[in-house]
Every structure is written in structure tokens, then in C-alpha cells.
Symmetry: C2
């Protein structure tokens, strides 16, 4: 397995160019050096969230959840809202799954969920994709989804591929779910994520994934897809379909990314602290419901507190408020020692321009530094989550390499304090270029970007005056032309196609050269 991982690393490195894994640090970078809330702040927010769960509660619980909850000491108020006593909440938190593995199809991509180790994931449900050549948007399709998965498969800093766009070319819910899962499982061997429309699709999806692996029960043993389930809609109301999906997933051993999306000023208070109170209450409420059905089931208890631009009421993901909310939510869930993920990198800009760059960096670095297990939406999203861009995806991945370097921090050891080197050099040659320590640390202390340009103005003009978007566009073109993951055998693929209405043409999933060969052979 170690060998497989190394081989995989080498492959990623060659695609990503000169970025050194050594300098970035191992997958799952420690976070937590930025804390937006004081200790007393976290305690007050948690106490207020407990208060909300006990006195306001959550409405529209499904019959299953309600009955289990009443057995465990919950009560219903006059309006039928389910009220959660503090003791049940605390018991649930104490007994929740903490250390578990989220599998990849390839074992090299297994993710160990451990307190304070930050991983980066995609996410989103954009309905548009940026056409970089035209500089405009068009509806996203199933083929886009497959291409995005292939692209993400090459990105060294992303550990979880959740479907970033909706295949808007499929209307039927069942076919949408099946084809979404097929396209992403075919495009990348990383851990997968997708929402699922209805609970009875869960079984079919597991069947599809087993067929892809070629072994019945394979998914149950190494579940490599998490369902994204919004079991609670804000403010404080269970959603029936999603609740049922989550319960079906729990029964199928499918990990759950339990997400809630309270939007400050719209479906949550305008005060950021108030949005965190509601967000924590909702995250915990959803966790309790799932644990009632299946205690200790692997759940990423995510709150995704969002921001409204109060001039228009529209969602806005690019401001400092979003960075604070995501970091604050991460700190709260870390305080409770619950596996969690928060959203970041949700630029409001429509293109990968200067605005996108600073909006993304600001929220990603603060969210990541605050120590969630996952940063979602971390690459590719634009237009306040309405749009996705392949160019943004590769750009953001490289940005995350820099951010992971900052998360590794400054190592203070006797060696690295370098007092002897300073003495020797100051009294000697007067520069550190090429000395022993410099050569030794060249790969481990520094990250070298590949797409980001560090040349002089003159050299830059000479090589064509490209901006980052243009360079990223070339990179995307190369990857899509050449990278066709082949972890699924033709035999398994055929069986899936026989059993399910797969829309992605087979020849679309093979290198063009291979298709010419096939055509020639026929």
C-alpha cells in the first residue's frame, strides 16, 4: 500500500510539475493555529445552541426519527417541534464516530479522519460551467462532470471529489443519481461525494458501485462514496427526502456528509455569532437524528453557514464574513471534537481573475487554519457557487499547495535555528547560496509553483505575457486530452452498462487514440 501511494504520488507530481510533496507536508495537514473565537466565545455559542435545541427544537421530524427520539427523552412541543434535551445531545456527541477512514477506490487515496488534520475536497452543485474560450457560462452536463472528475484525479492537493456540478442534461431523478455516481467513479479513484435524490436510489447506487469494482459487498467493505445529505433546512426544520436518504445511507454503511446551510441574514440571524449558534444547533440536531437510527455511524457533521449580501439578499461567498463564519464553525466543531467540514473558496467573481484569487485565498486559509477535517468547495467554484470552472480548479489546487505550506508552519529546531550557519556565513563568503543547508532544505522547506509565474517582467513578456487563467487553460487542455483513468475494467464497465441506463458514451471515457484503434478493429 505504501508503494501504491508512492507510485501515485509520483504520478501526481509529474502532472503537477515541480511541486514538492515534502515541502507541502503529508496529506492531512494539521490546522488550528488560527482561532477566530475566544474560549469563552466557543462556550457561549455552544450553550446557546444547546438552548435552541432544548427550547426551540426542530420541526418536521420523520416518523422514524420522532419515535426513536421520544424513546430517548426528546419531547414534542405544542407545534409538534422536536425538543432535544441536553443529556441526549451530550451523549450523542460523546458516542459519535471520530476516527474513521473514508476510502478511495484506490487505497492510496484513503483518507484517515483524525482530529485536526485538514483535507481538501471539492463540493457544490453548480448548474453552469465557464467556457474559458468564450468567457461565458453554459449549462453543465454529465460529460463536464466526468471531465471534472478526471481533472481532479490529477490534482495533488484534493483528497475528496464531491460532484461540483449538476448534470443538467438529465431530467429523471433516478437516472441523474445513477449517472452522476457512474461519471465520478469512472473519472477518479479518490473518495467520492454526491447527493442522492430519493432513499430508494441508495441501494441501486451501492449495486452500481459493487459492479464497478466487480465484487458484491465491495462497497460495504470499503465504502468509497459519501452521500451529501441536507437533513435539516434552515431555520431548524427537518427535510423529509434528505432525512430518508441519510437513514438509507446509514443502513448501507455509506458515510454521510451531513450538511446544513443556514444563510446569515436570510435563513439565519444577520449577526455572525447568531448564525453560528443556529448552525451549530442544526449540525448537532442532524447528527443526533442519524445516530438515533445508527449509533456511531461515520458522519462528517458539517455546518455550512453562508452569507447574504444584504443589499440584494443573494448568497455571497467571497467576503471576509464568509471566511469568519467558516473558520468559526470549524472551531466550534473542533471544540466538540466532531469530524467536520466547512465551505470556502466560494468566490463571487464570475471568472478566475484577481477578485476570485483574493476571495478564495482569504476564506481557504482562514477556514483551513482553524482546523476542520475538510475544506469543501475548495477548488473550481465561481459565481457564488452558481458556476464551476476547470481552469479555476487547477489554479485553486496550486493555491492550496501554498496554503498547506503555511499550515505546516515554521519548524523551530536547533538545526533550523541555524546559528552556526549564520556565524560561518557572516564571517565568511557572505551569502547562503549553494551552502550545505540551503541545498539540503531546498526541497523540504519550499514549495515551487508550476502554473504561478515568478519570472522577471522581461522574461514574462518574452514568453507571451500570459496571465494565470491562460496558463491554466493550457494545463486543462493537456490533462483532458491525456488523462483517462482506467481503474475500472472493461468487463465491469460492460456489466454496469447492461444493468443501468448509463448515458456517458463508452468512447468518451477512452483516449482518442484508443478509440481510433477500436474503430479500426471493427
Amino acid at each position: 500500500m505504501r508503494r501504491a501511494r508512492n507510485r501515485d504520488r509520483r504520478k501526481n507530481r509529474s502532472l503537477a510539475g515541480a511541486i514538492s510533496d515534502d515541502a507541502i507536508g503529508p496529506t492531512g495537514t494539521p490546522g488550528g493555529s488560527y482561532q477566530p473565537l475566544t474560549k469563552s466565545g466557543t462556550e457561549r455559542i455552544y450553550a446557546a445552541a444547546l438552548d435552541v435545541l432544548a427550547k426551540v427544537g426542530i420541526k418536521n421530524a420523520t416518523l422514524t426519527v420522532r419515535n426513536l427520539a421520544l424513546d430517548r427523552g426528546c419531547s414534542l412541543d405544542a407545534e409538534g417541534r422536536l425538543l432535544f434535551p441536553k443529556s441526549l445531545v451530550e451523549d450523542t456527541i460523546a458516542g459519535a464516530a471520530r476516527d474513521f477512514v473514508l476510502h478511495g477506490q484506490s487505497a492510496a487515496h484513503d483518507i484517515e479522519v483524525r482530529d485536526g488534520h485538514v483535507h481538501f475536497a471539492t463540493g457544490g452543485a453548480a448548474v453552469k460551467i465557464l467556457d474559458s474560450h468564450l468567457g461565458s457560462y453554459r449549462p453543465s452536463t454529465l460529460a463536464d462532470l466526468y471531465d471534472l472528475a478526471r481533472l481532479c484525479d490529477t490534482l495533488p492537493n484534493i483528497q475528496w471529489f464531491a460532484r461540483p456540478v449538476v448534470a443538467t442534461d438529465i431530467d429523471d431523478w433516478r437516472e441523474l443519481d445513477l449517472n452522476t455516481v457512474y461519471a465520478i467513479a469512472k473519472g477518479t479513484t479518490k473518495h467520492l461525494g454526491s447527493s442522492i435524490g430519493l432513499d430508494h436510489h441508495v441501494g441501486e447506487i451501492v449495486e452500481l458501485l459493487d459492479l464497478l469494482v466487480g465484487r458484491e459487498g465491495a462497497f460495504h467493505k470499503r465504502p468509497f462514496l459519501s452521500v451529501h445529505a441536507t437533513t435539516i433546512v434552515s431555520p431548524l426544520s427537518f427535510a423529509e427526502d434528505s432525512s430518508n436518504v441519510a437513514m438509507a445511507a446509514a443502513r448501507s454503511n455509506m458515510p454521510i456528509l451531513s450538511q446544513t446551510g443556514p444563510q446569515a441574514g436570510a435563513t439565519a440571524p444577520a449577526a455572525l455569532a447568531g448564525t453560528l449558534v443556529q448552525s451549530v444547533a442544526e449540525s448537532i440536531g442532524a447528527l443526533v437524528a442519524i445516530n438515533l437510527v445508527k449509533p456511531g455511524h461515520p458522519v462528517i457533521a458539517s455546518g455550512w453557514p453562508f452569507v447574504s449580501d444584504l443589499r440584494t439578499g443573494a448568497f455571497s461567498g467571497g467576503g471576509g464574513e464568509q471566511a469568519l463564519l467558516s473558520a468559526g464553525q470549524a472551531q466550534m466543531m473542533r471544540f466538540l471534537r466532531l469530524p467536520t467540514g466547512v465551505p470556502a473558496s466560494m468566490a463571487d467573481s464570475k471568472v478566475p481573475d484577481n477578485q476570485a484569487g483574493y476571495e478564495k485565498a482569504l476564506s481557504v486559509v482562514l477556514a483551513a487554519m482553524s482546523g476542520p477535517d475538510f475544506v469543501y468547495e475548495s477548488v473550481g467554484m465561481l459565481a457564488s457557487l452558481l458556476g464551476c470552472s476547470m481552469e479555476a480548479m487547477v489554479i485553486d489546487d496550486e493555491m492550496i499547495a501554498s496554503i498547506r505550506r503555511t499550515m505546516r508552519g515554521i519548524e523551530v529546531t536547533d538545526e533550523k535555528l541555524s546559528v552556526d550557519e549564520i556565524a560561518e556565513t557572516a564571517r565568511g563568503v557572505g551569502h547562503f547560496l549553494g551552502n550545505r543547508q540551503t541545498l539540503e532544505l531546498m526541497e523540504s522547506e519550499y514549495v515551487y509553483p508550476n502554473l504561478a509565474d515568478r519570472s522577471s517582467p522581461d522574461d514574462w513578456v518574452e514568453s507571451g505575457s500570459q496571465d494565470l487563467w491562460q496558463r491554466a487553460s493550457e494545463r486543462v487542455g493537456e490533462v483532458l486530452k491525456t488523462h483517462f483513468p482506467s481503474h475500472i475494467s472493461d468487463n465491469c464497465d460492460d456489466k454496469v452498462r447492461l444493468r443501468f441506463p448509463i448515458r456517458l458514451p463508452k468512447e468518451r471515457t477512452r483516449p482518442p487514440s484508443l478509440n481510433r484503434l477500436h474503430a479500426g478493429g471493427n
Copy 2:
């Protein structure tokens, strides 16, 4: 004075659009919630820096400094290096100026230097300026410097204007110094900064500034320009000219931005911790030298630890390593309670693109959060400090508004926990749009960008599909056409022009309409 400040704020707001000062917080935002070093890390770096000062010392001390130092317990080693005993260093740190005011020409722009209150400044000595229309660089001129000062005068988030470009159209050192100071003092009423070539220019510059104000001794009373002096060049060597300039400045009551620029892997160790050791040693060494000449003189004891891209040896300001070094240096100087500033926002990108955006945001937010008194180079710099861009300047200013919002943090008060609002809304209308708290907090909890676009993809296409660079370019055009600060009377201006070889044409400093009027009147 309060009134003047408010008037000035209003003016800035109208130029900057809808950005609310309330949400950003007052000038001088508290920092310190991000700490890249552990407590033991700071102690070890400080101990190592003391060790370096005591055992390696600094070479090439000027005669003045050397004699004063030997009187205070320093010694010379066999190579003539000046060695600093721990006791002198600690006495200097204990007696260093801490709380002081850096004046603006307008009192509204006075900066109170206070532990942990972060201000943003320009900086740099670029020799090229980006021509946005051609997308290429040309040598920077005196007229550019004046325009940059005017532009900065309108930027609400910048409190100190240090000359970002060199007037490369002036060869003579004396004329360069005089014209640089004239151009920036004419362009903005904010606190000013510039390097000065030779010590005997200092007196003339003070004379020029007194003439501009129209009162002898005015500068001495309210020194509104700090000299940027690199009294130590790395590794650990005094620079004669700059040392003499600093001493002349101290005698003229001119505050000193004492900066050192050790470059990791080139003029400092490749290990980041080692670069911090040397940087702290050099920052303190420079501080000791100035305090020997004038104890308690206002000094911003800045270390600007830089990064080399070790593939080429060239300076690189855009990576995660730079963000860590700047934040680490800030934390070290804050640990010593010394007024300090660090560089950030030094993008390697040549244009205001996605790369520039993320490189800048990453270093500015981490540097600012770590709590220096000043973040230098914070707006406008590109091309690894070789280039400056007016468009980048206004873009970066708005980015800093978002960053200042994050620095304000999440206020946790009973009111803001919003438990009553959550209860009322969850049981009632189901949304928070337009409720009392939302309307109340709309201005104080949220920052609304003006240049950054938050519209939908369709609206964005309809309004011309502009990226941020294009919108910034329009803003720059408007400001330069209309904003001609008139704080210097014609009478004073004439006296300066009579006394000194001022190169900036008088008509260049007036609105075109006024020039037509003058021309008509003649």
C-alpha cells in the same frame, strides 16, 4: 479634529463607494489571532538572536556608532565586528519608543502607534510601472509617483504612503530625494515615507517640508514623513550611507522605519527559523544603533525577511513561505513589544490576475492577523516588487477592507447570540430578511465591496463581462482625472519651487479645467 476626521472619512467613503467604515472597524485594527510560532518557538528564536548579536555581531559600524557602543559595553572582535552584550540589547528594548504618533499633513491622518493595532502602508522601490492598456511595463517616473500618491489619498484602507516607485527619470541623487518628497507630499495628506540617499539631504528635505506647510519648525513639531533606512545589510553588516541618514534623521526628529531585508537562501539561512533568527538580530541591532545616538527616538523596528526561489536565486514574494516569514517576524517583534512592520502583498505575478489575488491575500491576511503595527507593500506591488500597478493598488485596497473585517472577528455578545431572534423566526415567518436585527446590523456587521462583482452570471454578462482588472482601470481613470489634493497653498508651492529644483510641472498638479482657466487668464 474629530470633525476633520469625519469629513475626511465621508470623502473617502464617497470615493470608495459603499464600503462601510463601521463594518471594517476603526483605523488600526487589532491583530494577533494568528500565531505561527509557539511560545517556546518565540523564546528560542529570541535567545538565538541574542546569541548571534553577542557572538557574531555586526561588522562595518560607523565611527559614531562604534564609539557610543564601546562606551555602553560592546566590544570589537578580532575582525572588527561589533559584539552586543545581552544587557545592552535588553536595556534598549526596554527603553525603546513604544506609543507615539506618526503624523499626517492632515491631522485626520495621524496614526497612533499602539501595541497590536495594525495599519496598512504602501512601500517598495519598484522601477517599473504596469501600463494597463498595453499590458506591459515601462520605467516609472516622477509623474507616476505623484499619481500614485493622489490615488492612495483616496484609498480608505491605507494609512501611510511610502513611495512605491522610484522616479527613474531623475539621475541626480539630491534632486531625486527632493523631488520624491515633493511629489508625495503634494499628492497625499497621509503620513509619508521615503528613503533618503545621503545624510546631508535630510536637512534640505525638512526645509522643503517646512516651506510646503508654510511655517518654519512645522515638521519638527509634527513630523509627517518617516525615512526608510536600511542601516544593516544582510548578513549582519552596517551600511554606511544609510546609517548616517538614520542618524541625521534622528537628530531632525524624523521617525525612522528601520528595515532590514535578509533573504532566505541568499543573504540568510534557507531554514525559515534561521532567517527569523538573523532578521530579529538585525532588526534589534539597527534599533540599538539608533538608540545609542538618540535614546527613545521613534523607530518602527522592521524586519523584512524575504524569500528566494531556490531554483533561480531570485527574490519571490508570493509563496506561503513569505506569508510565514512576515507573520513570524511580526509575532517576534510583538513578543518584544517593539513597534514593527512587515511586508506582504508582494505578488510574483506581473498583472492583477488570479495569481496576484491569491498571493496577496495569503500573505496580507496572515501578516496582518499576526499583529504587526504596519503591513508594508500592502497595495499595488507586482512582479516580485519590481513593478507597481495603479489598478492593483485600488484592487488591493478593497481586498484589505475584507481582511480588516476578518480581523475584527466574530463578536459574541448576548445580543449577537440571537437566541430570541432564532426562536421567534423559526416559530414564525421562517426567514430573517428585513427583521429588526437584520436591518440594524446591515451596516455594522457586513462590508460591501464596490469593485468586486457579486452579480449573477447573467447580469454580469449583460453589464459587459468585465473582470476586476478592467473595473479597477476605470476607477483609476476617474480618480486621476478628478482628484488633485489642494492642501498646499499656491504661495507655499511657489516658495518651494523658488528654493528647490522641482521637476513636477505646476499644471500637472491641478485639474485640467483649472489649467484651461489659467491659460485663458494669461
